[in-house]
Point group: C2
Chain length 591, copies 2
Amino acid sequence: MRSHYCGQLETSLVDQPVTLCGWVNKRRDLGGLIFIDMRDRTGLVQVVFDPDQSELFEQANSLRQEFCIKLTGVVRARPGSQVNTGMATGAIEVMADGLEILNRSAALPIDFNQHVSEEQRLRFRYLDLRRPNMNHNLQFRAKVTSAVRRFMDAAGFLDIETPMLTRATPEGARDYLVPSRTYKGKFFALPQSPQLFKQLLMMSGFDRYYQIVKCFRDEDLRADRQPEFTQIDIETSFMTADQVMAITEQMVQQLFVELMEVNLGEFPRMSWHEAMRRFGSDKPDLRNPLELIDVADLLTDVEFKVFAGPANDPKGRVAALKVPGKAEAISRKNIDEYTNFVGIYGAKGLAWMKVNDLAAGRDGIQSPVLKFIPDAALQGILERTDAASGDIIFFGADNGMVVAEALGALRLKVGQDFDLVEDAWRPLWVVDFPMFEGDDNGLAALHHPFTAPVGVTPEQLKANPTETLSNAYDMVLNGVEVGGGSVRIHDSKMQQTVFEILGIGPDEANEKFGFLLEALKYGTPPHAGLAFGLDRLVMLMVGASSIREVIAFPKTTTAACMLTDAPGFANAGALEELGVAVIAKSAEDDS
Amino acid sequence: MRSHYCGQLETSLVDQPVTLCGWVNKRRDLGGLIFIDMRDRTGLVQVVFDPDQSELFEQANSLRQEFCIKLTGVVRARPGSQVNTGMATGAIEVMADGLEILNRSAALPIDFNQHVSEEQRLRFRYLDLRRPNMNHNLQFRAKVTSAVRRFMDAAGFLDIETPMLTRATPEGARDYLVPSRTYKGKFFALPQSPQLFKQLLMMSGFDRYYQIVKCFRDEDLRADRQPEFTQIDIETSFMTADQVMAITEQMVQQLFVELMEVNLGEFPRMSWHEAMRRFGSDKPDLRNPLELIDVADLLTDVEFKVFAGPANDPKGRVAALKVPGKAEAISRKNIDEYTNFVGIYGAKGLAWMKVNDLAAGRDGIQSPVLKFIPDAALQGILERTDAASGDIIFFGADNGMVVAEALGALRLKVGQDFDLVEDAWRPLWVVDFPMFEGDDNGLAALHHPFTAPVGVTPEQLKANPTETLSNAYDMVLNGVEVGGGSVRIHDSKMQQTVFEILGIGPDEANEKFGFLLEALKYGTPPHAGLAFGLDRLVMLMVGASSIREVIAFPKTTTAACMLTDAPGFANAGALEELGVAVIAKSAEDDS
């Protein structure tokens, strides 16, 4: 129906007739003329109606915001004074000579020039998506998936679909379940990831697989989780961890060059232990210059139990977080807030120290805990943190995990509050993860139970599970884990050993993963893979604050669709056919 | 790990060292040497182990079928007498100089050289997929999706994801339901198609959308249905039916040129009425030369009620199906079988007539109904069917739908039985569908309730629903409906009128489709779309007999996964959290 998109019009088209289809973005009546900003997915263009064409002008006079129209006219240059440099098509306008109103619009139920609540935005999502930034986000997302596919296709990866209706397992507490009609009383589960299927595809010899695929997790939704999310899922045979990292790093580099004109450079690698030590996080945001500095060894002999306890406990940790030059800026009120903040992560308090005047010795230090710290320790701390006058130092002292989480979170918060975060792209690989986390009460896989250990036999792994590293790798970008993967176990005995260490006995292993253990018998190739969180990656690239901003029809944080009013009640007959009944309903005000 | 894939090796690489990774497809010991056919996803290559390299030879001696190996060696030309022209790499072989056994294989549980039941194939799908034809099917499928995406991207279509957890509607008897944990007692439904979401995307101004997307239908599975299947889903704004047909036709043409080197030519168009009249089907297989020929007007006055009844009934039909030259070949036994066959479609019998000798008049005709057919009618039938000696003519006489279905099915069966089907690609568009099917007891939408009628106002549609045509189009290829679509209703009043005609009152319409009716108010653009069945399209292209042959991990015809043993029992605690209980279980032997 159209000859051009609105956003395509430019001075080279001056004097040419054009036909446009789109929406009335805005109407202005000025100097006896009617001006329309006409919009389609490519942008805006100004259209002018002249009263000399009286019939057309009268028709144009009925136009209101969001009317859907087809317009013909001639492109003309705007006089110099009227050129709008803030608009891509601001050098030209279209002199209308024909108008067809394709559909009228009622007055919009929400005014996007005002603040609109997220609930309203989701309820009228089809209008919300008309807004340029949402339109851009989804167009950009389409460019990302297209570029990813082109890269993967060119690298010989095969796009293979895996099932959505998969096996429900008794331990899958966070699976979305789907009752089966043919097998009443039994359920499918929606996949949390295609992990086992992609491993099976490697066993089938497909060698290089990828899929951009929906995954599901029925969990309490945090700010940035969705019940359904999208993975760029990748698996390869006969490739080492280094090779998988190289090819996926190259993919992300290429994405950024192609779509953002950003050269990410080579991604540095950091061990999990170093990340936890220096940044208190397994996904450190390297744009933030603050670091955790261990000081336990300086405090083993102090009498102050809060420090001495963790300093002398092999599982304890005492660390300092120096914020340069902020001794004055960070007020008592800030400190109180930060004390509450680290409490969320289990810290029982937040010791601090302001270095008002380094040259003045003890007298130059202001700190509620100063009296507990002997000179030598104080000197040691100031030296190790390379403190200068005007700095403030926070301390965390507790078991290692609490210190890492509390100071790691504080590091990010202070960085944000005081604008310390560099405006840059800082990718890295985190590697050398422990195989397991937990203690004598039980171990859990840090990645998943199909991750291969590094350099051990099954016997060695069993003898020393907590000291063994896994062959896993996470890609982190600006503090967000955008991808994670590992070399997988391709040896049946090793897989059984890992199950055993995780407390999954042979019967349970067979019941849940029998098909995998069986499949491992028949010449399974060495294989490795990785999955990217597409929503997060796109969110970062467009600079959005939530993955909901890059998903066309997201659910709310309580897993509801405001637009279609899902979930809804089911047909009673259908439930009966499925052999299930509703035995508890949420209170109506919940829904 | 590899330098080449097996299937890439060719004479230009002679004398070059190569490293291969793959599987032992076959081992032969011959003349003191060990020969291995080594396989990867690209094909096979012959590897030779020489006993002179004793350590390597001994290692090679442990190789068994399906061992996964890494092999180094040098490419060499085979002596002329040993060239295997039946093998892509048959002109060369690899002289092994290094071998690493990456994984051993137990003896395979199934022998693919024997007949293997489909159940066994699905149970050991990871082995089944190693077979060259299954491997090829899925590689081909990946090529199809890649080519489709490249076409759609180049044509400015945006790949936008729509939700998998959608609104359950009380009438959605064939929806897969997903209980909600947050809203106990309520359910999501898995989408039967993204129809409404893609229409909403048009309302949002995305203009051109596509998605290759999983859809779900919980129905009694016929031979060629799967509970989850994949659509190439397309929607456009500001395009007419002709334009949608043109661009999607071009896409399929390009697919066939690119991947099959087949030029499909321009797709002819045929009205639904013509298709039903000439082929008794809304998806005629044009490779089959047989046609239905209406003869009711010749038989209105005969005394034989079987013919005269339908011939005089406005809803009746009498049609002939002539099979040229098969009077002798089609035996009484065949005819008995065909009589039973048409019974499946509701036909109460199958009249037939053999034209043994056209020149001999009545005496040359053999038919149990001959005595009921007067000379004039007989002459009329022979002329109209252009009968010749040696032809056999079948008759269908019943209401129009029974005749179409019965003779339409018989046409296909006879065509197959007597090898009348041309070896060719015969695409067409079926157009000009009726809006509704049904009778005074109620009307149903022939496509779906969002399909626009052709050339009527809401008032006119209401006055004459059954005579109105819809703006719908189906793409048919060799008798398979590969795609279907329509122009959608973009006018709120028209949409309400269609709901009304379908017996959906305003309250029900608001309850189910309120968000759509609401959205239609705000400048909805004219829009139209189409969805292809990807599984079927790929099935046709690779010449498979079932869509299960082009799906990596399909379900059985009873919607079970033999490999993972899904569906399975769910965790009791999880069910309780969902507020549902199992109230009926299938007998164990069902599962």
